[in-house]
């Protein structure tokens, strides 16, 4: 099993009477992308900022690369790459100057030209930050997080403001870093991004973990129903089957079931037996987005 890069146990964070995090526990392993999901105010950024050492927990134990992030000092920060949700870069510096400045803080460090090429900013190297687009600035944020060849990367909404092509480019960068063994903690509001990148998803709501696991099995604890839809040509009563609900919508039969394979077999057998023609037959498994919305709306 890959080694733990970060470990959070029973983490609690209070802001006055508000409990921002309540008994949160998880770990991040080498070469793993862990996504923190949750609505605004769920505690994602607070969790990341505690892991980065920016904020102190109220209670609980946090270890990043084996040390308390509040006490890890420069040696720890030398091994971290951080894309903050909101952090500025001096507008009068060029992209290349900004990368060279931040690269000078780290050992080992990567050449600025290599980093800028990796994030797709090589042609804008001599452009001042003030003249970069929002998406280019976000890519520069990522470049500044990569200058020190980090072991652990925190990406707080790294693709916000990027166009679709730039988002896909950033995904490739993240996948290539993971393939090199970098552990990545990611927050995002784009669930397609999480589904593609993350090995593990942690869903936070009101400061508590409401689900965690691989995106495909995030519903394992409380499985949601799959949906079967079809149009039937002709009138005939459907037989009994393993579906929880059934109704008609816009001329289509809609069934919700936890046993989609058995339900599909019964419907297709029934269709052949009674001679009812079935068209546009579709089985849809719940997506991460469906599950996420269900989990967070239950709170």
């Amino acid at each position: 099993m890959p080694a733990d890069v970060a470990r959070v146990e029973h983490l609690t964070k209070d802001y006055g009477a508000v409990k921002a995090l309540d008994d949160v526990s998880f770990e991040v392993r080498e070469a793993e992308v862990v996504a923190l999901l949750g609505p605004n105010g769920a505690g994602k950024t607070t969790t990341i900022e505690i892991l980065e050492g920016i904020r102190a927990p109220t209670a609980g134990d946090v270890r990043v690369l084996g040390v308390d992030p509040r006490r890890g000092g420069r040696r720890l920060r030398n091994r971290l790459g951080i894309v903050l949700q909101s952090a500025g870069i001096d507008a009068t510096l060029t992209a290349s100057e900004a990368v060279r400045l931040y690269a000078s803080f780290y050992r080992p460090r990567r050449p600025a030209s290599e980093i800028l090429e990796q994030v797709g900013l090589d042609e804008s190297a001599s452009v001042r930050v003030a003249h970069l687009s929002g998406g280019q600035r976000r890519r520069l944020d990522l470049a500044l997080a990569l200058v020190g060849a980090p072991s652990l990367l925190f990406l707080d909404e790294p693709t916000t403001g990027l166009d679709p092509a730039a988002r896909r480019h950033t995904w490739k960068v993240i996948e290539s870093l993971r393939d090199q063994g970098v552990a990545i903690v990611l927050t995002s509001h784009y669930l397609d991004e999480v589904q593609r990148l993350a090995e593990r998803v942690i869903v936070l709501a009101d400061g508590r973990i409401v689900a965690q696991g691989p995106p495909a099995s995030i519903s394992g604890a409380t499985p949601a129903a799959a949906t079967i839809t079809f149009r039937r040509i002709g009138d005939a009563e459907l037989p009994a089957g393993p579906w929880e609900t059934m109704h008609e919508q816009h001329g289509r039969v809609v069934l919700e079931t936890r046993e989609p394979v058995e339900a599909a077999r019964i419907i297709l057998s029934w269709s052949a037996d009674v001679g009812i023609d079935i068209r546009d037959f579709e089985v849809r498994q719940p997506s991460l987005e469906d599950e996420y919305l269900r989990l967070t709306s239950e709170r």
């Binding site: 890959p2 209070d14 927990p57 803080f105």
Partner: protein, 289 residues
């Protein structure tokens, strides 16, 4: 889904003591100084505050009374007083006004936050900032004095230059520390310029930066004597005026006291986070385990 026993099986990746550490802080100071120098030379407000305002004031005040002599200073020409005074004002602008504005702006824009999450030691940021202030202040004093000597016929004996440099260094150190301290009190960048000049200008007026004669009101004289600007300006003027009092132990004590107090304020209240100084007081004390 992850289970607790699985979690316990994983070994840990740690920050090994033999792993390469970050770049040594002392090597980052020139890099930080270069960075701040780039910012100040590319920022119109930085150049305007540091160089244009003092030179403009020197020339403007001279042109208003080009033939004026100052009896209170032994009958010297007005330019002989204005040149060191505006050089002092330039140092105060570089060390105080520009620091208050640029630090507050950097905090508001999250630039300090980003720097603080990097392996650069915090002191390297301040050392680089101070090194830049030294370079810019030296340039500003040279330009102001150069304009005075070359165009306004001001006399500056070569033997007085070390005295001028020493006074400028002391004044820059004090104003820099005060600039960092005051930046912790400015809630938003938009308030930095009015607050910086709102603090500096009244003190400069009572401290003989713009007018040679001390105030007739005793309380104003006492007030000026309590602030660090008066001994600094007199120290700068002493290089040009035989009647002015050089920077002595008493003056250094006042300036040192203000510098120490400012450093304490900065130590306890300086924040790298945008707006957190106010929020911090609203939060309960947290503990890290």
């Amino acid at each position: 889904m992850t289970t607790a026993p699985e979690r316990q099986q994983g070994s840990r990746v740690s920050v090994r003591s033999d792993a390469p550490g970050p770049e040594r802080g002392v090597l980052l100071v020139p890099r930080m100084a270069w960075y701040h120098l780039l910012l100040i030379t590319r920022s119109p407000i930085g150049t305007f505050i540091s160089l244009v305002i003092p030179v403009m004031l020197l020339v403007a005040l001279y042109l208003v009374t080009p033939e004026m002599t100052l009896q209170s200073l032994g009958g010297v020409h007005i330019a002989q007083f204005l040149t060191p005074s505006m050089a002092s004002f330039a140092v105060l602008n570089v060390g105080f006004v520009d620091v208050v504005i640029s630090v507050t702006l950097a905090r508001d824009e999250g630039i300090l936050r980003r720097l603080h999450t990097s392996p650069a030691p915090p002191w390297a940021y301040f050392a680089g900032r101070l090194a830049t202030a030294v370079i810019v202040a030296a340039g500003a004093v040279t330009i102001v004095c150069g304009v005075g000597v070359l165009f306004l016929h001001v006399h500056l004996p070569l033997s007085s230059i070390p005295m001028l440099a020493a006074a400028a260094a002391a004044g820059l150190a004090t104003s820099f520390a005060l600039g960092i301290a005051v930046s912790t009190l400015v809630p938003e960048a938009v308030g930095a310029l009015p607050i910086a000049y709102g603090v500096l200008l009244p003190v400069a007026f009572v401290s003989q930066v713009f007018f040679p004669a001390p105030s007739e009101a005793p309380w104003l004289r006492d007030l000026a004597a309590a602030f660090p600007v008066l001994p600094f300006v007199r120290g700068m003027q002493a290089a040009f005026l035989v009647s002015s009092q050089p920077l002595d132990a008493h003056g250094l004590l006042i300036m040192g006291g203000w510098t120490g107090a400012a450093l304490l304020v900065a130590l306890f209240f300086f924040s790298w986070e945008p707006g957190t100084r106010r929020r911090r007081h609203l939060r309960p004390r947290s503990r890290s385990r």
